[in-house]
Symmetry: C2
Subunit: 230 residues, 2 copies
């Protein structure tokens, strides 16, 4: 593993708790809905919205735009169709300030001593920059969907990240809590590390282990740092 130069991170679910963060925001706003159900409904629109772009049926638009369209789509289901334009805009930015899982800030700090670090997320640059400020992440660059103008798991997204750092895919490692993301990265030649996030979709509803072959499987980022410095 001594030839690994850069680590690329999935963000939603792997580094930050999107479900808990959105549920907390919904409660903070005093909306009379089940926060977790609202978070799940919003997130459920995520893959279909990206799929149109991946399939070529729509040109690239930033994830902020898709999140906003998806919000408009789910509000009536929760009896919130009267929410104002300004409130919708503000609520949409909750994705910019999702909270990190407890191991992440210290884990990234340790990994940064050995590797270049970049998000390899479907989130856009402004979203990633705001989230880094919110949590205190220090990225070397923001790579991912906006650089490639396409969405994971399209190979172009991973390969655009490697190219931006002038690295061969095998010198880069994709770190994610989702086996599908790791399988796609591995198919491009990247090394892979799985992070267990057993509660991503609610208590006990997340990947505790990869269901595809990976180079490392770790409990959290601190555990991964141990693996990679060994």
């Amino acid at each position: 593993m001594s030839d690994i130069r850069a680590l690329f991170f999935d963000v939603f679910g792997t580094l930050v708790d999107w479900r808990g963060s959105i549920a907390r925001e919904v409660r903070r706003l005093g909306l009379s809905v089940d926060g977790e159900a609202f978070a799940d409904a919003w997130r459920n629109e995520y893959q279909p919205a990206m799929e149109r772009i991946r399939a070529g049926g729509r040109g690239y638009v930033k994830l902020d735009v898709l999140h906003r369209e998806n919000l408009d789509r789910i509000l009536p289901r929760f009896g919130l169709e009267s929410m104002s334009e300004a409130e919708r805009e503000a609520l949409n930015l909750v994705w910019h300030r999702l909270d990190a899982w407890p191991d992440v800030v210290e884990g990234l700090k340790q990994l940064r001593k050995q590797f270049l670090l970049a998000p390899m997320s479907n989130g856009n640059i402004a979203l990633m920059a705001d989230m880094a400020r919110h949590n205190g992440f220090h990225w070397d660059a923001i790579l991912g969907s906006e650089i490639a103008r396409d969405y994971k798991p399209k190979p172009e997204v991973y390969l655009a990240g490697c190219a931006a750092f002038d690295l061969a895919p095998e010198a880069c490692m994709m770190v994610a809590a989702h086996s599908s993301d790791l399988a796609a990265a591995a198919a491009c030649g990247l090394k892979t590390a799985h992070i267990a996030r057993p509660d991503e979709h609610g208590p006990g509803k997340g990947e505790t282990a990869p269901d595809v072959p990976v180079d490392h499987a770790a409990r959290d980022l601190l555990h991964l740092a141990e693996h990679l410095s060994a």
Copy 2:
């Protein structure tokens, strides 16, 4: 100025001393040439190389590629045409580890408390990421030529940076030691700040003051931080 959200920085000359750094590297390598003359010759090829791309006569290639072509062009003039391929590759990376002017690390740290910070350079992402590691810069994102796939002072480059941060041009300020860069940014609607670098091209050979209208003219980044927090 309270509506400024992001600062964009020119890098070569404004943040780092390319001439002194390259001259030191040349001396460190024991090359029997005048280090400053070598640095000047290399840098003199910079604008013509980019101009072909800006004018549309060549597709976008990264600055690392142009630097390498320019190196090959000047080596014979210094009697160094026998330099090996590996030595040329290694020397070309000197641009990734240029040293910052003395005020820059502390200046960026202060400015970072108030603003999003990004390089708005013609340097490519890997070059900017390595240089940030070398000097201890903390960027929120690496914007600039590689994002826009074109070279300053083309308006597309500045505007792509604003768009990446989801900001209107008037919420962004371009910071540079070169009036031409600031004039181009201002024409796109960005605010502007000039930094004096009187020795960029050698003792007494640099812009001490802007020769175009700017919003701020500062002695260095610490002085700019004072201006902007006032």
